[in-house]
């Protein structure tokens, strides 16, 4: 099926709705809740909040099953192929990018998903953060393309 069909867009919309609902129900939209997970120094004193691990665990179990189901199919329901990430190497950009992201995440308690979903509640300075996120993402993308790498540049090897 062509990736421009009504079911294709409906799938994207249903997925977005559920993702947003999940971020609210789990309260990962609350930067303090995320920071109280990342604050391992609070473990001895008993002020540590393990919620984030439960959120990741719950999400992983469901997605793990979906990946297994997908491996038995040639294509997803509404597109011609699974868009597997093209890169499989563990290289310097992967680690350096994760370091930069880790600093930004630890400074703010928000990662891209919660940051965008927080538009629903309009905390002050959010737009400032989102513009910076977009500019940073653009700059990072330009840097990577200068290195001669583009997303999905090579076909993904069969796993």
């Amino acid at each position: 099926m062509r990736p421009t069909s009504f079911p294709y867009y409906a799938t994207a919309a249903v997925s977005g709705l559920l993702f947003g609902a999940g971020l609210y129900v789990s309260q990962m939209v609350n930067p303090l809740k995320v920071l109280h997970f990342l604050d391992f120094g609070a473990i001895p004193a008993g002020g540590w909040d393990p919620s984030l691990a439960f959120v990741m665990g719950g999400a992983l179990v469901v997605m793990f099953v979906a990946v297994r189901i997908g491996r038995r199919r040639a294509a997803p329901l509404f597109d011609r192929k699974f868009h597997e990430p093209a890169f499989t190497r563990i290289d310097v950009p992967l680690v350096a990018g994760a370091v930069l992201f880790g600093i930004g995440w630890g400074m703010s308690g928000i990662c891209p998903g919660p940051a965008i979903s927080l538009i629903a509640f309009e905390p002050s300075h959010l737009w400032l953060y989102l513009v910076a996120l977009l500019v940073g993402s653009y700059a990072g993308g330009v840097l990577m393309r200068r290195r001669g790498r583009t997303r999905e540049a090579v076909p993904a090897p069969a796993e």
């Binding site: 789990s26 303090l32 469901v62 597109d79 600093i103 308690g109 927080l118 629903a120």
Partner: protein
Amino acid sequence: MDAFAPIPALIGGGLIGLASAILWLGNGRIAGISGVFGQLLLPRRPALWRILFLVTLVAGTWAAAMLVPGLGIGGPGGQPAQLVSAPAWTAIPTPVWLVAAGLLTGAGTAIGNGCTSGHGVCGLARLSPRSLVAVAVFFGVAILTVAVTRIV
């Protein structure tokens, strides 16, 4: 206020997993928010589904807060949503702090090809060694950052 509540965390996580599963099995796309957001700027990428996903992401958060109020921040009766303030000892104005955090997160997720959702949920579920390394690094660095900045 934001006490540990395992059941909402598991249910919320399950919803995020279900959202990722639907996008993968329906459209063959990774629900990686940094990728969906960042690639909006690339003109030759299919944009409509990405815009639709991001708009409904916000709508889903809002609707859930209306339907199930009082889980924490957001919605009627919920606490007002707030971003962090810069730690006082740094003497950095909060807007500058947040812009720095946004730039680092944007650049880092573009260079490392993913964030908590793309590498964390989808990548780990695919048993991708790349994602495992990314997740270990960004969790480790974020934990260190919180320890060093003493932001909470």
